[in-house]
Each structure stands twice: as C-alpha cells, then as structure tokens.
Point group: C2
Chain length 193, copies 2
C-alpha cells in the first residue's frame, strides 16, 4: 500500500471538504492519486459539501447556552453565507445543538488545525510509549485519533446521535442549506473553574 503523506491528505481535504479519515482512506484506495481520490469521495457522497467549504461565511449566529442556573455557560459563533439562512429555524437549531454539545462534551478546540503541533507531538509520544509497553505499537495512531475525538469539537461524537460526529452534522447542514457553514469559535465558562 502506498505511503499517504499528511500534506496529501490535507490537500484532498481542502479540495473536497471531506473528513481526514475519509480523505486518507480514499487516497490509500487510489494509491495516492489525488484526482482518483476525489472521484472516490464524490462517488461516496462525502465530497458533496466540499465545493461549498471554500466560500466566505461571514453571516450566521452568535448563540449562548446556560446550564444549571448559571453554573456553566457557552458562547459560540456559527457562520453561514447569508442572513437568510442564519434566520431559518434549521440554522438556529444547529447553533443551539453545537452550544449544547460544547457544554456537555467540553472540547478544547474547534478543529485539529487549532491544536499547537507540539501538543500533538507530546500526545503522540505518550501513546507510542504506551503502545510499545503493551506490545502493540500499531495501536498508537488509534489512541491519538481517540484523543482528537475528545478534545476537538468537530471530531466529537454528536451528543444527540453518537453514530455521527459534529463534523458530520455540519456537513449535513451544508448539504441541506446549500451554503458553507463553519463553527468559528467558542467560549465555555464553568463557575469557579
């Protein structure tokens, strides 16, 4: 099987907007051929949202969610392209669900891109050492993926349906609305923390 570089995965991701794992699998399937991998993703419907994701999203909503009579609060900005979509009930529900997700699942970053590379390297080293100790060196990458799914909002299983990630939910909304949608930033305060 061809070696799939991280930069190739990133490139495919930028073109298609598909998830990292989907891009890696598609590239592996096509032995690193970028054009073929795009076709594979499109055939699977995973690149449906992709063409939208380069477009400017400056409209949207800033939404809050307060839990436990003010013991926990979340503020989140979710962007779309037009005020029209921002005002739909569907978009409001998406923004509210994202705020509830952040309250419940306590992510530290919106996406992997936000994690300082040093932080990723430290985690990777820890999992590699653990995996070697356990005699399963191949398990390290899986553990790192699990960690991403804990700390990155987009990689987290969605609290209302954990067979999908938050990224999946955003992608669904892109397909439904026909607009680029992005979770831009969030703040989460727990009282006295």
């Amino acid at each position: 099987m061809a070696e799939i570089s991280a930069s190739l995965v990133k490139e495919l991701r930028a073109i298609t907007g598909a998830g990292i794992m989907d891009c890696r699998n598609a590239l592996a399937e096509c032995e690193g051929d970028l054009q073929k991998a795009q076709m594979v993703l499109r055939a699977k419907g995973l690149a449906a949202a992709g063409k939208k994701s380069g477009r400017v999203a400056k409209e949207g909503l800033v939404t809050s969610y307060i839990h436990g009579e003010g013991r926990l609060g979340v503020l989140v900005e979710v962007n779309c392209e037009t005020d029209f979509v921002a005002r739909t009930q569907e978009f409001k529900t998406l923004a509210h669900d994202v705020a509830m997700q952040i309250a419940a699942a306590d992510p530290r970053y919106v996406s992997r891109d936000e994690i300082p590379p040093e932080t990723v390297e430290v985690e990777r080293a820890v999992y590699l050492a653990q995996a070697k100790n356990e005699g399963k060196p191949d398990a390290a990458e899986g553990k790192l993926e699990k960690w991403f799914a804990t700390v990155c909002l987009l990689d987290q299983p969605f609290i209302r349906d954990d067979s999908h990630t938050v990224a999946d939910m955003v992608r669904d909304a892109i397909v439904k609305t026909g607009e680029n949608i992005q979770i831009r930033r969030f703040a989460r305060f727990r009282l006295g923390e």
Copy 2:
C-alpha cells in the same frame, strides 16, 4: 508632595479594595503613610468593601447576553461567596448589567492588572510624545487614564449611569450583599469579526 510609588498604591489597594485613583489620592494626602491612608479611605467609606475583597468568591453566575438577533454575544462570569447571594434578583441584575456593559462598551480586559506591561508602556510613550508635541507634558498621565477607562471594564463609565464606573457598581453590590464580588472573565463575539 511626596512621590507615591505604584507598588505602594497596589499595596493599599490590596488591603482596602478601594480604586487606584482613590488609593493614590489618599496616599498623596498622607504623604505616603500607608496606615494613615487606610484611615482616610475608611473615613470616606471607600474601604467599606475592602475587607471583603480578599475572601474567596467561587460561587456566582455565568450569564450571557445576545444582541441584535445573534449578531453580538457576550458571556461573563461574576463571582460571589455563596449560592444564596448568587440566586438573588439583585445579583442576577448585576450580572446582566455587566454583560450588557461588555456588549455596549467593548472592553478588552476586566482590570488593569490583565494588561501586558509592554502594552501599557507603548500607550504611555505615545501619550508622552503627543503631550510634548502639544506643549503639555503633564497631560500624558490623564490621557493614559482615559485609555484605561476605554479598555478596562472596571474603569469604564457604567452605561446606565456614567457618573459611576463599573468598579463603583461592583463596590456598591459588595456593600449591599456583604460578600466579596468579582467579575472574573468574559468573552465577546461579534459576528464575522
């Protein structure tokens, strides 16, 4: 008039919880005598809140304020000492007023202590240069104070009554509730910014 050092002002402030200008004035009045300055502040009622301000405030409220149908959002944590006070209408009103203040007046810091010293030095240098150009070198400190009143939440004139600062409003609440009250942190998102 005695030279009043910043560290002396800070010390008096830590003891009494009074405002920076009040502390500086009291120290100037007493020629730098820390004990006398405390008496002056107490006599003026400005240290009334002071004894409270060392106490641990870990209860309170995380409150949000959303403006313009989701175009601007604020999340703020205001602390007090007991859940009992946190649940009072008075405390809820204070937290709400602070959130509205942040939305309207766009501070960058809660207090002066949060400003990186380099940032203050750059501002000071600019105002000194300006003041010299205008032939009024003494005007620099006044300009710096005005800048603090723009960027620091506690130094801002309160939007509902600009004869008082936000710090005054917090001090009033401390006196009324008998508890230490602190604005801990805030986030402010403007859509697409």
